[in-house]
Amino acid sequence: MRTQIRYNSQRKGTPMFTMFRVAAFRLAMILGLTAVLPSASFGAMSELEQAARKEGQVTWYISQYGAEVASNIARAFEKQYPGIKVNVVRATAQVTYQRLIQDIRANVAQCDVFGITDVGAYVDLRGQNRLAKYSAESAAMIAPEFRAAIEKNGYWYPTSALTIAIAYNTNKIKPADAPKKWADLVDPKWRGTVALPHPGYSGVAGVWGLMVSKLYGREYIEKLEKNRPLVGRSILDTVTMLNSGERSVAVSLVGPALESASKGNPIAVVYPEEGSVIVDAPTAILQNAPHPNAARLFMEFLLGIEHAKLVVSLPRYESVRAEVKPLPGGKPLHDLKLLRASDEEVTQGIPKLIERWRDLFGN
């Protein structure tokens, strides 16, 4: 008897009432969702967005930014397109490339968007038909300096540019005494004081190694080794070595060095007389990307204004959009002498440079 009474008191009412409640709930949900969703841009973009949202996530193999910056960029994308999660997989360039190769060898499709600083990897991947061809809408709005870097067939696009110069610890070295050119780094005066990245890990370090070898021949790296530098892995590590005072001179990315200085660390940047090395950071979509539409949407984001603003403010890299100006503090690109490596130089030169470096430096 008691069971019957309990059942009666818990009955939710008549079927009609239930249907009404369900309909009202659904309507509320739709209204709520429309309020929350951003107004989609019209045309092809909104189609892409819808398709991307159905996929729900995009996996980004990235070496061009440090872990913190990459997380921030991911979150900005997630904020602009809620419902699409970005899986950030960050490591140095060669480690990231190795991961992709491992995926390919194991026949596993994990990576959607691939961004490292060694363009030789892209040349190899395109040769193996691993990259997807995509005509990015935003590519037309890239600044003129970077148009040349756009691979004409549309397999990869520059999404930022990184400049390498010399940084030093201002507590230990006065501006007048600081090294002024790349040639200064092999001066015995700087023995035991230099911090370097490792081309076997860092893509930009590879390009830097190629450029200084081009300027001064193979002996440059040998003389550098005799000066007992401290070799890390990522080029971002050289800034932390300056921060801690472990070394006083470093081969660093201009952006992160200036960023660190703005936080109160005793760091200043010198643009070498021979020229600062500039590396365009390419981004590509994988042919077998598990979330192709989300990947394309992410690519458009990386070529857009929002990302450009983040890029100049967080790691202080160069943006590829002319509308977005760099922060005060560094020298603008057109004031600098720039050293750029060609795609062939990078493709042929970096593997050999890595082997030589390992033999010279021990690992």
Partner: protein, 576 residues
């Protein structure tokens, strides 16, 4: 009333049925053990002879692996490093163990606690703290020296061979300490009394009588320290790479970098395997030959040697060693974990919680890696313990013929260095058809295999302590072996099993050498995450993550202490 024939048939049938079930179990266990242990090793050897492109048999991998001067140098470096560390650890641990075990020195409880702290610290965290302490320009010890002496000289350089050896020794010496301590604890004082009566002083007695009696334990532990050092990846990577000092494990890491050469890595890992097997065989021979009657304990008591005026100096020496091993490193890590830039030092404006915030809330991979470490560690602990217990039960109760083969297989992974096991697993299970590449399964299976010997040996020791009467009683009353295990043996063994589970769980959560090749982007564990963070030199965030790891480990160890008692770390029970 059943006739004699019916009865015989029935009992035969039950016996046959039991045989069938146990045969099934035997086959199942064998298949599992072969898949976990024999297959990866076999694939490793086969892969070392395989050509990367064509798959044909070739010696080219060996030529490549041993043809370059840098690779051979790495081999030599590994052996030298192992010898240096084994020697240093012995120098550090033996006097300490003697003092704690045989004398009336002060603060024994504190010393033991600190040694446990050193034991529990992952070696790569010790490496990071020593970079903070002894970095050639910015290290705290160097700064202190400069400040107090006024000289512009920095005497401590962690980025050297001896810097590396000291950093490894300070986290590895607890192993020799524990073994020597355990061995000294059971040496009765009769021998020492005899030596004293014959005129030998305190020190002469110690050096000529007491210590030689525990030489096998010391040598055994020193050999294991040597083997652990040559198989270590974390510390040689963190300290050796900037120092330009290449060892076998870091060279293997290079083989896994682009361009990837798994075949060369397989060929290059053979010496590591051979050295390990050879040394273990040697160690077994040494430990078996010497007969040390004192260890069978005829009831001679152990009297502590009075140190007299040496009490405080000995205590000072012990605290000095343990400050270097535990106190200073933990302090350095704490300072960096709560600092914006560790180099700026102990200033109020340098304090921050941002590192922890970044790890827990902003970097999804880091937060996930903490969870992953514990989940994978717990899973592999359960699997290893389950397998080890079943095999130990089969071996001890002699349920099957040739059960010792299973026992031998269970102990075999002990002789395989973690990194070599990982390469074997990678070669065997990462590619199709199983395609376990990047999954948590391959990581958990590798951990299970790696720690199976500990689980097996602990289960073995625990089961040996049980009298079979109780299980026989269950069988007589009609229960099966399984019932006996579940209702009688299991509950009796609970404490021992929990201890064994912890002995697998704790190392599994911080294992790096095995994880470095198998941990994919989605299955990051804390140890590999720490290595990733060191890439960008983010020592502050690294220290914060290390802090979380240490805190969690200490909590688990504390729980273990309460549940199992003081015996948790002593391997006396495990008979290792």
């Amino acid at each position: 009333m059943p006739t004699a024939t019916e009865f015989t048939l029935k009992s035969e049938g039950r016996r046959l049925g039991a045989l069938n079930l146990t045969s099934l179990v035997w086959v199942l266990i064998s298949v599992i053990l072969i898949a976990l242990i024999v297959n990866p090793l076999l694939r490793l050897v086969i892969t070392s002879f395989r050509d990367a492109e064509t798959g044909t048999l070739t010696l080219a991998n060996y030529v490549y692996a041993y043809g370059r001067a840098r690779h051979l140098l790495a081999l030599m470096h590994s052996v030298l490093l192992g010898l240096a560390v084994a020697g240093l650890c012995t120098l550090l641990a033996v006097p300490l163990a003697w003092a704690v075990s045989r004398t009336d020195m002060l603060g024994k409880g504190v010393i033991r606690l600190l040694v446990l702290g050193a034991f529990v610290t992952p070696p790569y965290l010790g490496a990071v703290s020593w970079i903070l302490l002894a970095g050639p320009n910015a290290g705290w010890l160097n700064r202190l020296f400069r400040a107090t002496s006024g000289l512009d000289v920095t005497p401590f350089n962690i980025y050297t061979f001896w810097g590396l050896a000291v950093a490894i020794s300070l986290t590895s010496f607890p192993y020799i300490f524990i073994f020597t301590n355990a061995a000294l604890d059971v040496v009765s004082s009769e021998m020492e009394d005899a030596a004293n009566i014959l005129g030998a002083g305190r020190w002469r007695t110690t050096l000529r009588v007491t210590l030689p009696m525990v030489t096998p334990a010391i040598i055994g532990a020193a050999m294991i320290t040597f083997l652990e050092t040559i198989a270590m990846f974390g510390t040689p990577a963190l300290i050796g790479m900037p120092a330009g000092f290449n060892v076998v494990t870091t060279q293997l890491f290079q083989f896994f970098s682009y361009p990837m050469r798994v075949e060369a890595a397989a060929a290059y890992s053979m010496p590591l395997l051979f050295i390990t097997v050879a040394l273990f065989w040697l160690q077994m021979k040494i430990l078996r030959r010497k007969g040390f009657v004192a260890l069978t304990g005829k009831g001679g008591g152990r009297r502590l040697i009075a140190l007299g005026r040496w009490r405080w100096p000995v205590f000072g020496y012990a605290m000095f060693i343990l400050s270097l091993a535990v106190v200073l490193p933990y302090l350095a890590l704490a300072q960096a974990a709560f600092a914006k830039a560790w180099g700026r030092g102990f200033q109020w404006d340098n304090l921050t919680l941002a590192n922890f915030q970044y790890l827990i809330f902003e970097n999804h991979t880091a937060a996930q890696s903490v969870l992953n470490s514990f989940i994978f560690g717990a899973t592999s602990a359960f699997l290893a313990l389950g397998l080890g217990l079943i095999v130990a039960y089969i071996v001890i109760r002699r349920l099957l013929p040739h059960a010792q083969v299973l026992g031998f297989l269970c102990m075999a992974p002990f002789v395989i260095p973690g990194i070599v096991l990982a390469i074997g697993f990678y070669a065997a299970y990462a590619p199709p058809p199983l395609s376990l590449y990047g999954t948590s399964a391959i990581l958990v299976l590798a951990f299970t295999t790696r720690f199976l010997p500990i689980a097996y040996a602990s289960s073995n020791a625990a089961l040996r302590s049980l009298n079979p009467e109780m299980e026989d009683a269950v069988r007589i009353l009609g229960g099966s072996h399984f019932t006996a295990l579940r209702r009688v043996t299991g509950p009796l063994l609970k404490q021992g099993l929990i201890g064994a589970w912890l002995l697998v769980f704790i190392p599994a959560t911080r294992e790096l050498s095995t994880a470095i090749f198998l941990s994919g982007p989605n299955t990051r564990v804390m140890s590999v995450m720490l290595f990733d963070l060191s890439e960008e030199g983010l020592l502050e965030k690294l220290a914060a993550l290390g802090f979380l790891l240490l805190a969690a480990t200490l909590v688990v160890v504390a729980i273990g202490y309460k549940v199992v008692g003081k015996d948790i770390m002593l391997t006396r029970r495990a008979g290792l």
